[in-house]
């Protein structure tokens, strides 16, 4: 034990910047795993608390376009979208399910949120740009099955030793959404 510890004393031949990057990513991953657990447990009340009051939760519409027009693949804020929510609307989504009369989620769907490929693409000190991939799997009632892949472009705001989601843009890997609804959150 003692000798092992001696060998891994911080700074003993370890690149401090690489270590800081790893620690940061690990903290962000932990934050995302905890978030996913809240969603899969249908704990939306706790989940919406992870968002800042000025958050923007946005899922644009994606279009199959020619390669040279790929910059127009996604709709932009101010155009049509699937989700374009501020904090109040996100709170509304939690309350809708909690109301007990949200029939599309009663009986509740079973979901599993898998979050991978977490990358910090910018660190501005108070805020970080973080990209991650997701696979959200949903089964519902007897035989309904949905599988959504995509990525999330988040702005995470440092808040004590955790984060607030100050912006989330969700890019779904589908143009025609291949499910009957998006009563699941990402």
């Amino acid at each position: 034990m003692t000798s092992l510890q001696a060998e891994t004393v911080p700074g003993a031949g370890i690149d401090q910047r690489a270590l800081a990057t790893m620690v940061l990513r690990s903290r962000i991953e932990t934050f995302y795993y905890d978030e996913a657990a809240l969603l899969d447990a249908h704990n939306y009340e706790e989940w919406v608390r992870l968002f800042s009051d000025d958050t923007h939760y946005f899922m644009p519409i994606r279009r199959t376009r020619l390669r040279r027009e790929l910059h127009k693949e996604f709709t932009q804020p101010g155009e049509m979208a699937f989700f374009d929510d501020d904090k109040a609307i996100l709170v509304g989504r939690w309350k809708k399910v909690a109301d007990g009369t949200s029939w599309a989620e009663d009986p509740p769907s079973r979901t599993r949120h898998l979050i991978t490929n977490v990358r910090v693409v910018a660190d501005r000190g108070d805020e970080l740009d973080v990209e991650s991939n997701f696979h959200v799997y949903r089964t519902r009632l007897k035989s309904e099955e949905d599988s959504w892949f995509g990525c999330r472009h988040d702005v995470l705001r440092r808040c004590g030793d955790t984060f607030l989601i100050a912006r989330r843009h969700i890019l779904l890997d589908q143009t025609i959404v291949l499910s009957r609804n998006l009563s699941t959150l990402f």
Binding site: R65, T75, E79, K96, T101, A104, I176, L182
Partner: protein, 450 residues
């Protein structure tokens, strides 16, 4: 489970007198094939709005039945619609769903077509074809008829179909003009998603002002939709799973002041009157109804309409949206939402219209999340041989609807009712018989009582 769809059989599937529909029509494969032929192969179908393709070379793809159609803005500003299939060996000419192009080059052998559909290029035409090919014969196939009605582009696969103005008739033109006369443009981004249900159940719901208080109870519960203390609704004995009486929050409008319109070829409208809608706190000031050009276009009946219209078969118009219900299979339907803003909208009202469109309808909409599950489950139950024999009921206000024929339009003033749904199914049965256009027009002439 195949149903023999001859004329007698079709009449047995829809009863206008009893308000009953045979539920086998919601999953039967032969019926679906007949629908593609008799309805989607003949009716004028919506392709896009002209503001989606403003510049020369802009294109947008829309299905007509199982045919994929490209609507293309021409250099002279006109619009043409082509089958998206190469005239050489059939490859899809264009694989993007929208965009802008100078020409369409098929990626199989390179046959190239200009915006007008003319065949302008054949690789190695001299060396291999030795001049034998007559380019003028192999231009892109245009849809038999296409028309731009006040900015709304429609097409039909039937060369013998009546002109769009006649197909729409006074009522259908009024339904389109309720949106068009204001001067509108499409907001970029067409929402598309798939529901595992039969397309007719989605059309039935266009006119359903009965389901909101239950299906969308959660939207009322959280205050997303306004409720009224005064208009407390009678639960009528409805109970929840704990045996508690359902307390219905009074919805606005309250269903006491409604108007339905039924029309030739199956077009219909139903819902609260404009007066009832104006009482809705979210309706906003409907200043546009005071404009002379709007009054002129929609006429005295149009001035009173505040509900939902359907251009038969599947083009649903709300105040600021158009929803296509695209039949994919007997049990799969794509929903396409087009959203309109007024050309002269302030930035605030534009943003409000877009926000409402995103948060009410669409797959993540506070309302439409629930709708899809109802239609999917209703479709699924028709796979049971015995369950399918339980009729689909449209009996509300049945036999009590006095039809007023005035200003070229047939209307019914009543409380919430199911006349427009029943009318849609009646027209569906007439279309399925493969009648001549004249006979179809006569068979779908509105009665005096429904």
């Amino acid at each position: 489970m195949a149903t023999n769809v001859d004329a007698d059989h079709v009449d047995a599937l829809v009863s206008l007198e009893r308000g009953e529909i045979d539920r086998r029509i919601f999953s039967d494969e032969e019926i679906f094939e007949q629908e593609l032929k008799q309805i989607f192969g003949r009716a004028w179908l919506f392709l896009c709005h002209e503001t989606q393709i403003p510049k020369a070379g802009d294109f947008f793809e829309t299905p007509m039945g199982r045919d994929n159609v490209l609507t293309v803005r021409q250099k002279d500003g006109s619009i043409r619609a082509f089958l998206n299939t190469c005239t050489h060996r059939g490859n899809a000419l264009c694989r993007a769903e929208e965009g802008n192009t100078k020409a369409f080059m098929c990626t199989y052998h390179g046959w190239s077509f200009n915006l007008g559909g003319d065949l302008i290029g054949i690789p190695d035409s001299d060396l291999f074809y030795k001049g034998d090919i007559d380019r003028s014969k192999y231009g892109l196939r245009r849809v038999p008829q296409m028309a731009n009605y006040h900015g709304f582009v429609f097409a039909t696969m039937d060369a013998a179909a009546p002109p769009i103005e006649d197909f729409l008739g006074t009522a259908g033109r009024m339904f389109v003009d309720l949106v068009a006369a204001r001067g509108v443009q499409v907001v970029p981004g067409i929402q598309k998603f798939v529901i595992d249900c039969n397309w007719k159940l989605t059309v039935d719901n266009v006119f359903d002002w009965y389901h909101g208080q239950i299906t969308h109870m959660s939207a009322f519960g959280i205050g997303f939709l306004p409720t009224s203390e005064e208009s407390v609704t009678d639960g009528g004995g409805a109970q929840d799973t704990l045996g508690r009486k359902i307390e219905l929050r009074g919805s606005i409008p309250d269903g006491r002041d409604e108007m339905a319109v039924i029309a030739e070829y199956g077009h219909a409208h139903s819902g609260p009157t404009a007066r009832a809608v104006a009482a809705h706190p979210l309706s906003g000031v409907q200043k546009w109804r005071e404009r002379p050009e709007v009054i002129e276009a929609i006429g005295p009946v149009g001035m009173q309409l505040g509900g939902h219209s359907n251009i038969f078969p599947t083009c649903w118009l709300t105040k600021s949206q158009l929803s296509l219900r695209v039949p994919i299979s007997p049990t799969r339907t794509e929903i396409w939402w087009f959203t309109f803003v007024d050309n002269d909208a302030t930035p605030e009202s534009r943003a409000a219209t877009i926000s409402q469109a995103i948060h009410v309808f669409g797959p993540a909409g506070f309302l439409e999340q629930e709708d899809g599950e109802n239609w999917a489950q209703a479709t699924k139950q028709t796979h049971g041989a015995r369950s399918a024999q339980v009729p689909h009921l449209l009996k509300m206000d049945l036999g009590r609807g006095t039809v007023v024929h005035e200003h070229g339009v047939s209307r019914i003033e009543s409380t919430t009712n199911e006349h427009a749904q029943l009318w849609t199914f009646h027209a569906w049965a007439q279309w399925m018989k493969g009648l001549s256009w004249d006979a179809l027009h006569a068979a779908t002439a509105p009665p005096d009582v429904i």
